[in-house]
């Protein structure tokens, strides 16, 4: 093996070791956060201020209304902040965003997508970044966690009247006990490693050659921490984690990858603890980890092998990648960010080799489940597990059940609609954009690569990833509006279905397992869930993929 391969293996080993080290204690901590009856003093004060009874359990529909109400307020607040930027302090002289752009950005940050049609350094001031984006980075991630925990409670509870927790309590605890303290520590680590943290405006300096260059300033480290920890992905700068002020060294690079993977990979443990069977958590973790590992191997191999004319000529597929990190670290970051619905990048995905870029696209199309966004990954994976249980359960001669809950007509309707939602958004959005003239206008490259760019954009928006393939000119009213709609539907339709499912499950009486019950903690089941994910997504997207990345890869 070459040194490059050794380095690639070594960094993955370090990453996996770090994730493994925190898995058990952190999983238990998260479970305690969402199950303890105790409130912190600061939380009590907050509940009193907003007049919420933190111990009142909500039925699923009330929980859902709380999620939607809160998110609607977030969207409206962000929209106002964006539109009125010119009149607000700390705007660094930037004007307000245009209506379509403000809509897109408001939805983007409220849905944990963080799709950015603008360049951070050229459009958004510090106030919008901190009071708008940073706040949403915390709360939208906490919303995802809350919904996942609500679904887990649905599995764990038996025979309630569809009560699945209190959204306001879950939302608050996610911020006060998980995201805020962890990102505070993470921000300190980042600052210590060279990420900038200030409230300076951009500073003009003279270069050695005598030209003038603008050095950018801002509260970057604090944003960076929650950007990754909350699988948000919205960078302070346009270049995102490829920018040296956001991600200066190979260490910060690996640390940021760790941040974006740590909560999604830990949640299966929390799930296992809360449903009272840790083996179930291991199984879900097994599915997530094997899909992530497969994507990583494929992408790293594709990038290192560098198929295609340009990489062959240049000697390596380095176009669009940072020399600080190299091929393997870029592949690791790219796979992790697309597999977690983060969408931050340390390299330009558009410049990946055709098969490498295809894997990244497939990661997103998979529905952000391996391990997926904070919370969203777990609930997405549990829905896939239910689909797997339905078919496999029949094959062992029982009506299907998962964790003691029967998967009947109503449950299946919710799950089927969930599985339908994002493919519908992605396919319809992409289909419209390649035939309508405002859509075609944004496509830079002709042919298969152009199709991939559009597909990637809608996949990213519909699955709340937020990374861009680049190459597609968005920021036009057409794309801003349509992608905004895609993000909104892609976030809240699944959440509504998941919470309805949680309510259904919580009201069911648990069936104790017997020798005839399908075991859902064994390797066979892990393989089955992974196969269901691959087959469902594969069969849906093979036609369009074959006209995009597949054709490219074969040429």
């Amino acid at each position: 093996m070459t040194t490059q391969t050794w380095a690639a293996v070594a960094q993955v080993l370090v990453l996996v070791a770090a994730l493994a080290a925190v898995h058990v204690p952190l999983g238990a901590y998260l479970a305690r956060v969402y199950t303890t009856p105790n409130h912190l003093p600061v939380e009590r004060a907050w509940y009193r201020a907003v007049r919420v009874d933190p111990d009142a359990e909500q039925r699923w529909n009330v929980y859902l209304l709380s999620v939607l109400g809160f998110s609607l307020m977030s969207v409206l607040f962000l929209y106002a902040l964006g539109r009125l930027q010119a009149y607000l302090p700390w705007n660094l002289g930037f004007t307000g965003l245009d209506p379509a752009g403000a809509w897109n950005t408001a939805v983007s940050f409220a849905t944990n997508t963080d799709w950015q049609w603008y360049s951070g350094e050229a459009a958004t001031g510090h106030l919008l970044q901190m009071a708008g984006f940073a706040v949403q980075n915390f709360v939208s991630a906490s919303v995802g966690l809350a919904v996942a925990i609500a679904l887990v409670r649905g599995f764990a509870r038996s025979g309630t009247d569809a009560r699945i927790g209190n959204f306001w309590t879950d939302l608050t605890r996610g911020v006060t006990r998980i995201l805020l303290p962890f990102s505070f520590v993470a921000a300190l680590v980042l600052v210590a490693s060279g990420v900038i943290q200030n409230l300076d405006p951009h500073t003009a300096i003279s270069t050695v050659e005598g030209a003038t260059q603008h050095l950018l300033g801002g509260p970057v480290a604090s944003q960076e921490a929650i950007k990754d920890l909350g699988t948000n992905g919205g960078g302070f700068f346009n270049a995102n984690s490829a920018h040296p002020f956001e991600n200066p060294t190979p260490f910060t690079d690996l640390f940021e990858i760790f941040l974006l993977l740590v909560i999604p990979f830990t949640l299966p443990r929390t799930f296992g603890i809360m449903v009272g069977d840790r083996r179930q958590g291991w199984a879900i973790l097994g599915v997530m980890a094997s899909l992530w590992a497969a994507a990583l191997v494929l992408t790293t191999w594709a990038e290192l092998a560098g198929p295609g004319a340009a990489p062959q000529a240049a000697g390596a597929a380095m176009e669009g990648k940072e020399t600080r990190f190299g091929l393997a670290a870029s592949a690791l970051f790219a796979v992790s960010t697309t597999a977690t619905s983060t969408g931050s990048v340390n390299s330009m995905h558009d410049s990946f080799t055709a098969p490498g870029g295809g894997v990244l696209l497939f990661n997103i199309l998979l529905g952000e489940v391996a391990p997926g966004g904070v919370g969203a990954g777990l609930y997405g994976m549990l829905v896939l597990a239910v689909v797997a249980v339905f078919v496999a359960g029949l094959m062992v001669g029982r009506t299907p059940e998962y964790l003691g809950k029967k998967i009947g007509q109503r449950e299946m309707t919710l799950v089927a609609l969930y599985v339908l939602t994002t493919p519908a958004i992605v396919l319809v959005g992409t289909g419209l954009s390649v035939v309508l003239s405002p859509g075609i206008a944004g496509i830079q490259e002709a042919g298969p690569h152009g199709l991939t760019e559009v597909l990637y954009a809608f996949a990213s928006a519909g699955n709340n990833n937020g990374s861009a393939f680049a190459g597609l000119t968005t920021g036009t009213p057409y794309y801003d509006t349509l992608l905004g709609v895609a993000m909104l539907l892609g976030r809240f339709v699944p959440i509504a279905l998941v919470l309805a499912l949680a309510g259904r499950l919580a009201s069911q009486t648990s069936v104790p397992p017997s020798a005839g019950t399908l075991p859902t903690h064994q390797p066979l089941f892990v393989g089955l869930v992974a196969a269901v994910a691959l087959v469902v997504v594969g069969l849906t997207f093979i036609p369009v993929l074959s006209l995009g990345p597949v054709v490219e890869s074969l040429s």
């Binding site: 029982r398 419209l432 009486t509 040429s555």
Partner: protein, 727 residues
Amino acid sequence: MSTTDTRPVTPTSAEVPDGGIRHHSKRGPAGRALTWTQVRAALPAALRKLDPRLLSGSPVMFVVEVGAALTTVLAVIQPDVFAWWITVWLWATVLFATLAESVAESRGRAQASTLRATQQQTTARKVAAAQDTLDTGTRLDLLPTVEVASSSLQVRDVVVVEAGETIPGDGDVIEGVASVDESAITGESAPVIRESGGDRSAVTGGTVVLSDRIVVRITAPAGSTFVDRMIALVEGSERQKTPNEVALNILLTSLTIVFLLAVATLQPFAVYSGSRQSLLVLVALLVCLIPTTIGALLSAIGIAGMDRLVQRNVLAMSGRAVEAAGDIDVLLLDKTGTITYGNRRATEVLPVGSIGPRDLAAAARLASLADETPEGRSIVDLVDATYASSGGEPDELPAGAELVPFTAQTRMSGVDLPAGDGGRGVRRIRKGAGSAVQRWVHSTGAHVLPAEEAELAAHVDAVSRLGGTPLVVAEQVGEAPARILGVVRLKDVVKTGMRERFDQLRAMGIRSVMVTGDNVVTARAIAAEAGVDDVLAEATPEDKLALIRREQEGGRLVAMAGDGTNDAPALAQSDVGVAMNTGTSAAKEAGNMVDLDSDPTKLIEIVEIGKQLLITRGALTTFSVANDVAKYFAILPAMFVGLFPQLGVLNVMRLSSPESAILSAVIFNALVILALIPLSLRGVRYRPASASSLLQRNLLIYGVGGLVAPFVGIKLIDLLVSLLPGL
């Protein structure tokens, strides 16, 4: 001490010598394979089912039919060999689906016509009296009767039926006893006894009274009798989709929508790429992708599942119960008649003191020769088989022998033999409960040695502890003091093969509970011998109901079999309640299945059929979806190879031309339905095994098999299709 725990036993009950489980089917064709005759007979109905209004219940097949209609229009507008071939095969796809359903239904239809024959209009002799006289009066058969048409009978009417007459409707015998020929319904030619009161009072309309005369109170109005319901069930006319079938249909519908979207949006992508596709090809792609295999066979699987129950003489009143049978966690079985033969049998003699086993056996035999109870007969059988002396024993008591019958006061029975040669006095032999016989022995002035007394006590105790009943035998010759000879072990004999059955149940994850009126010690001993998991001893009907409720509260599904009126609440409460056909109408109303053979162990087969039904659905769904991979490899390169020649690499099957590739996929898709009709009617093979080994096996066959099979099939079809002119 005789018939304490026997139930009415009819010729159709579970008293089958081999251990009780019947596998033979009494009706329907023996071979389950699809024959041309069947197909020809089912074809007209299959064509009628093409009516889109009927087809809309199956979204998958409805989409195929719309697609077929569309391609027909296209083929008419622009006639072309390829278009016509596609159109023909799309219609064939729909037709194969309706054919599967219609073949499945035709099996029941033959049976329904036999049943209908029993429903001929008959004349009923209705007792003409005021309702309150009918409700309270006695000797109703002496009241005047009027002749009315059987169809005009109302509930609570009372009719008189004599030998040779057909019973005009469902009802309960309220006076008299008669032997009834129920072969029209059960297929069993031996007559059964029906009598007023007790658990054998229910009679079914259409059956024939062979002897005697009974008075019947009608319990079901004409048109909704048992036979009417049977006809509706076997014909499938009342069939409603079962919950799991509905859930599966939802999954299939959502898959259909996903593929509809994938294919519909393929056109804009194709246009963008510069290779607009014809509507014909898109329809062909869509039909190949949507889960047509399972969509076509789903209702046939359900009908065939019900049919398999009917083959085993079980009538399920709802499909829901058949499905629930696959999920059963706990099985309640009555001890007597189900786990054990109905009666206690003598299995061993245990002599006391200096008495030899043969002497004890001979004495016990003499005491039992005239005893007509099953226990008495079993003693004779035992002695003749095991302890017979070389000379053989007389089959008749000597002349002058006096039978001492069993009474509740003495609690023993026996025989007094006349004084014979050699000057011996009258020989009195007694057998009965230990305490009663001992009291008799003492009353003759005997002093039983302490050692003998201890030995006797040890025998009695040992027999009781092992679940048997000790029968003490003593004799007195002349006026000498009586002496105790020993103990005969009477035992509930567990039917052979029960342990294996319970092992199988355990492997399926089903816990078996034996229900008995016996005391705990006896019950546990029998349970251990039979291999039952748990036991409910000294059970009253209320205990049974409480046990079912308790299990259900824990989320478990409970199945039970029962026949008595006092079983009715428990039958109604259980998730799968199988009523015996010999039972009361109350039991039959309460259960959701009726076993015409009245064989309680058939619950096990019912569970297997339920599981088989679910497995068949799961297996064909997996197969159907796995097939899509190969179809993509056939069709996608064919669609776009003109634009992107590099996609030719994906044509791994080396199909001869784009047209033949697409047509071959469509033909394979249609033929696979036809090929799987027999499997869907027969059901996937089910062997009791753990869930993971079942999953592993079925995933391998239907998942991996489903991936591989179409590659081979499409390639073979392509070899033939490429020979077609004009393609």
